[in-house]
Assembly symmetry: C2
């Protein structure tokens, strides 16, 4: 008797649950369909026909990525500012380079960076292959004197010469500055970080909890996804920071660092000198955004909640409620992914030789 | 008929070969026996009863080893100067620290460092547990203001607090500066790098070729092994650099770097102020010495050949022949080992929180 009642109760509960689940599933399916349209799917590799990703190039590129000999001092590698152990960033407001130069902008994450339609905050490089050539020569970053200096260093190391031959098999003189950048870029093209959100996009609507789904819905409805879309949830366009008013006024109250605030950054205007590019920056990927603090091109804001508020206000003219902010942040945290295994395996670097230029610092 | 002759020749050659092999085997066995007495065997882990190496401690220690939040700037980690991708060193004459301070001494390798009877070039720390507490607070290295500051940073990160509980399970308040150092040291106690030389020591006398064995024999006979002995081929004692004359005169002609030479370093004298400790330094491990250039406490000499010549002259009063130097270097290269797999697997670092002190630079 008791058993029957319990059984009846259970059946009732299960039926009720099923009805709820159906309703919820209907809502979820709608959200899933919208999300799929907006974000697509995250591939393992973002290939470039002009620089096809091969195993040999990736292996070589990873070594170069970690090699501090591509800096004048012999201390700084790509990984110094784009640290693979901390989601591809240095977690500093703006980066520190050669002789402790403080750079003007925040280091963007290298993970999922292959999706960016342009590179650097001001979009001055068209792709990763072009981007990788910048910091090595930038006097406040790695500070090599010339592309020839980079080539000289690599050519002085026989193991590297062999690896370049293998990575660029049809080239007579494969150790070139272009190929150094191509190998690094090929490695970077493999650095996608799938997360729980991708499980959702694949159709497992239970991969996100109710708050996270509400956050995703809010993210879309409020308008965030207008810019932050595509597989990287961003990186697809350049937009003025501060549509509704100066960005530096919106961020000022969140600046917590006891260091002078960066001067106002004109963004893409510095590259094009066109009026319409004033304060225009690349929309960053939001994948791993939980981990890539502090935020914005100047690293001025440390809290993700604050960053969400600033964005809604300056870009969309909206004052979000506390609940909306919490929900969006809950969703954003589902974008925290897993770096591919090979990204976390350190290479062993080949030795310098008597011909390798000595560090200068 | 032809076959028989060839057969006879072959038998003759084989007999001759066998006799030669026997003679050579006798010589090899003698060398092997001497080498085993001098160098012993390399264990995987160098345990410390005061800080037993556990899986949990090693895992935590590796994270701390890579965590730049143990530096004031948020940029510098243990791995910055003791880079696991380049055999545990930075390959700079002397290291670069907070705000680009140039340190006075060369960064010793972290690999096989657990064998050192004392730590630092001047032996001022008794073991790795004590050593690890130095650089974090050194104003020209990682530059944290106090042990409390390190503890504050770690305690602000809940994942770390959990990991400390697991690594130090019987302690009420496990996040302490001592335990930070203990975890790092436990990780370092697993960083042995077995090489071809260990195959030889295990009894495979063919693991070294004839020149390498000659080099080993010379290394022993000339007297190098008087100081460079034990499993790490060094690290067991402190010795005056420049027994036969001032070291800085012996190294001067090899200095190739266009940077001011370090002033004369009094070595252990600076710690003890005893006359007998003037210019006394720790004898470094020679494991991976091929890869840990430049050499000596001041990183003044870049070529291994030159370093061998300087050592023979200043420590043993001997002018080696070119052949002896080549043979010894050939032997030393058999000490280039393989880092353990886990040493090359980067950890993923946990996030800072609002309570984590901000970087200062």
């Amino acid at each position: 008797m008791k058993k029957k009642v319990v059984g009846g109760l259970l059946v009732g509960l299960m039926l009720g649950g099923a009805v709820y689940a159906q309703k919820s599933a209907g809502k979820d399916d709608e959200l899933l369909a919208t999300a799929r349209q907006l974000f697509g799917t995250l591939p393992e590799v973002v290939d470039n026909p002009q620089n096809p990703v091969t195993k040999e190039k990736v292996q070589l590129g990873k070594m170069l990525y970690h090699d501090p000999r591509l800096s004048k001092s012999g201390l700084i590698s790509c990984n110094t500012c784009h640290n693979l152990a901390s989601y591809g960033v240095d977690n500093l407001p703006t980066s520190i380079g050669h002789r402790w130069s403080i750079g003007p902008r925040n280091a963007p994450t290298v993970y999922n960076s292959a999706f960016n339609v342009v590179q650097f905050w001001d979009g001055r490089a068209k792709d990763l292959e072009e981007q990788a050539k910048g910091p090595i020569l930038n006097p406040i970053e790695m500070a090599l004197d010339s592309p020839e200096e980079a080539v000289k260093r690599i050519k002085s190391i026989p193991e590297y010469v062999e690896l370049f031959k293998k990575a660029f098999p049809n080239e007579k003189d494969p150790v070139t500055y272009d190929n150094i950048a191509k190998a690094i870029a090929a490695f970077e093209r493999t650095l996608q970080t799938p997360s729980r959100f991708d499980e959702f996009l694949k159709g497992n609507t239970n991969a996100l909890n109710e708050q996270e789904k509400r956050g995703l819905k809010t993210f879309i409805e409020v308008g965030c996804a207008g810019c932050h879309n595509g597989p990287a949830v961003g990186g697809r366009m350049m937009v003025k920071f501060g549509v509704t008013g100066p960005y530096w006024e919106a961020t000022r109250k969140f600046v917590t660092l006891d260091k002078p605030t960066q001067p106002v950054d004109v963004g893409r205007y510095a590259v094009t000198h066109k009026e319409e590019d004033l304060y225009v920056f690349k929309v960053p990927t939001l994948r791993n955004v939980e981990k890539t603090y502090p935020y914005f091109h100047d690293g001025s804001v440390w809290s993700l909640e604050d960053a969400v508020r600033v964005m809604a206000k300056t870009q969309l003219g909206k004052d979000l409620t506390d609940q909306q902010v919490k929900d969006i942040v809950a969703f954003l945290k589902t974008l925290t992914g897993t770096p591919p295994k090979h990204a976390l395996e350190l290479p062993v670097l080949p030795s310098s030789t008597a011909k390798t230029p000595k560090p200068q610092f």
